[in-house]
């Protein structure tokens, strides 16, 4: 018994930090997701020239809390002939896979739950792909045709687009020669250039494939409400439904983080290696202070006392974050001897800020696309995947490989690599237009011979 206790203590001593971080992520993530949903509704409202949620809190800032309470106390309905166990398991599986894959991500050089795993980025991609089982099994277990159709579409979509996404990841990984998340970002810092510039075609492929993999519009066919009610989620209500929602947004965060790590320089500030641009470190705290000041100015315009208090709280939050961001850059200016002492804090805090900022931009782009482009038809989606993205990504891997060999031959580094990768990207673009032209020719021939039947594909 004593030995077991000792082993447990030893285990806790080694792993207390990752365990604590894991618990923190599980606890905080639903709140973050709630606010991402609010932001999404606000952006949607803005793009459609209306106000969006305004009632709960100032500018609807308390809406996520109200929504969460509503979802928690809703009646939990299980359809009559549903497979109870699988019905229970499916949403949990979806969320579990999303949360587990977060463990491999490095949010800044200081925050990573599973540190320095050798397979790094593969772990994140592989585990998050398991979430599909939650969708497929949930659709099957609800014993409804709409759900089953949604589940089938979802699995077909994932299998089709995973190849393209994987090939895009390969093209970026060719530059690093490692799978370790931290080393990938360090490679970009060493080259002084983000891989999005070196492999733009791969970034585009990953962007499209990641939208399809997270079932977001314009590729949200598994839950297309005009055809399938709500797809695989049709029979789910209350808390189970909110778990699916949580899983979808967690997956969005995961794909955005993977794209940020591989293509957008991870936690690096724009132009991190250029020393005369170091004043950029002062921009984030200043912007936050400006936002906080604006909130304070707006306090008097709020109609009720609660709303005024809440507005002040938002301003306070902005000031606190600005202070945390400003401290490591302002202290060395005041007292140069402190530079060494605050260096790790500077790296951790500012790294985390830039990482989260880039992830937010990527997610904003997702939302922008969602409200701009109409939904694809299922055969169009499949054709885009199999006839366009997969050939393009394979050609791109070949071209990037050739460009890298040429770069090694001419001993190019950093921005010099652009000399060989830009022609490769242009060639890939030419290939893309060729593929499109072939498709068009094929279509023209098909139309002559047979009447269109778009369910046949």
């Amino acid at each position: 018994m004593n030995a077991t206790l000792q082993a447990t203590l030893e285990f806790l001593k080694l792993y207390w930090a990752p365990l604590l971080c894991g618990v923190a992520v599980v606890a905080i993530l639903p709140l973050i997701v709630g606010y991402i949903v609010l932001v999404e509704r606000k952006i949607m409202a803005d793009m459609q020239a209306r106000l969006g949620p305004m009632r709960v809190g100032p500018h609807g800032l308390l809406q996520p809390i109200a929504d969460a309470v509503k979802l928690l106390i809703k009646e939990d309905i299980i359809p009559e002939h549903a497979d109870k166990l699988v019905f229970w398991l499916a949403p949990v599986l979806s969320v579990g896979a999303g949360l587990l894959s977060l463990a491999g991500l490095a949010i800044g050089p200081a925050f990573q739950i599973a540190q320095d795993i050798n397979i790094g980025i593969l772990f994140v991609v592989g585990i998050s792909a398991l979430g599909i089982f939650g969708i497929v099994l949930g659709g099957w277990a609800s014993n409804s045709h709409y759900s089953l159709m949604g589940a089938l579409r979802s699995s077909a979509q994932l299998v089709s687009y995973e190849t393209a996404a994987g090939m895009a990841l390969v093209s970026a990984l060719l530059f690093t020669g490692t799978l370790n998340v931290k080393s990938i970002v360090e490679a970009q810092s060493k080259e002084g250039i983000w891989f999005v510039l070196l492999a733009p075609v791969a970034f585009f492929t990953y962007l499209v494939a990641s939208i399809a993999e997270t079932n977001r519009a314009p590729f949200d066919l598994p839950e297309a409400e005009s055809e399938l009610v709500a797809g695989y989620m049709t029979e789910f209500s209350g808390f189970r439904w909110s778990l699916y929602f949580l899983a979808e947004y967690t997956n969005m965060i995961v794909v955005a983080s993977v794209a940020t790590t591989l293509f957008l320089g991870g936690w690096l500030r724009p132009f991190a290696g250029v020393s005369w641009l170091n004043f950029l470190d002062f921009v984030p705290p200043l912007v936050l202070i400006a936002i906080g000041a604006y909130c304070v100015l707006r306090v008097t315009k709020q109609p009720t006392r609660v709303q005024q208090l809440f507005m002040l709280a938002v301003a306070g939050l902005c000031f606190v974050v600005a202070l945390v961001l400003a401290a490591p850059v302002v202290l060395p200016v005041i007292k140069p001897s402190l530079r060494e002492a605050v260096a790790p804090f500077y790296a951790g805090i500012h790294g985390g800020f830039w990482f989260i900022f880039k992830v937010s931009l990527y997610i904003y782009f997702f939302m922008w696309l969602r409200f701009t482009i109409p939904r694809y038809r299922f055969d169009q989606l499949m054709r885009l995947g199999w006839h366009f993205l997969i050939p393009l990504s394979i050609i791109n891997v070949l071209l990037v490989g050739v460009a890298l060999i040429a770069g090694a031959y001419f001993q190019l580094h950093g921005w010099g690599l652009l000399l060989v990768t830009t022609p490769a990207a242009i060639l890939a673009l030419v290939a893309a237009f060729l593929i499109l032209a072939i498709e068009k020719q094929h279509d023209a021939r098909q139309e002559q011979t047979a009447p269109s039947d778009f369910y046949a594909g």
Partner: protein, 172 residues
Amino acid sequence: MLDKVLFYFFAGIAVASAALMVTRRNVVHSAIFLITALLATAGIFLQLRAEFLFIVQIILYVGGIMVLFVFVIMLVNLDVALQQMQFARQKWVALIVALALAGQVGVMFWTSGKMPGQGLPVLTAVAANRLPLNSEAVAKSLFDSYLLPFEIASVLLLVAMIGAVVMAKKRA
């Protein structure tokens, strides 16, 4: 200590879900138990510090092949399938083959360590931080030591893939 606990945990799950996989009547339940068996095997790979095998097992078998399995299972009509005779009737052949296999494994265990060069090789434990990096080691053995077999296997897979496409293509 922790290693042992983890090994028995994963091994237990793998064996139990494999047994459940063949005994369930519902095909989707069988598929779920096959998934857990594969995941538990991946866990054993991880516990052996073969991270690359772990993730390849998850990405290829669980994330790729099993998704297709479940997809196909949902396409076929389960109600009809349930009424048909599901289990193979070669019980005795299966029993003999299984016993032979178990005997073989037993002999391996029995002879290991008794005579040099016989049975299972006894490996010495190495500290985790002195192991070569796993994906690098796999890459080196695949593309350096065993390049030719690897390429032959790739060509074989390519031939199978082209064959599948040709077979599935509609005759115009």
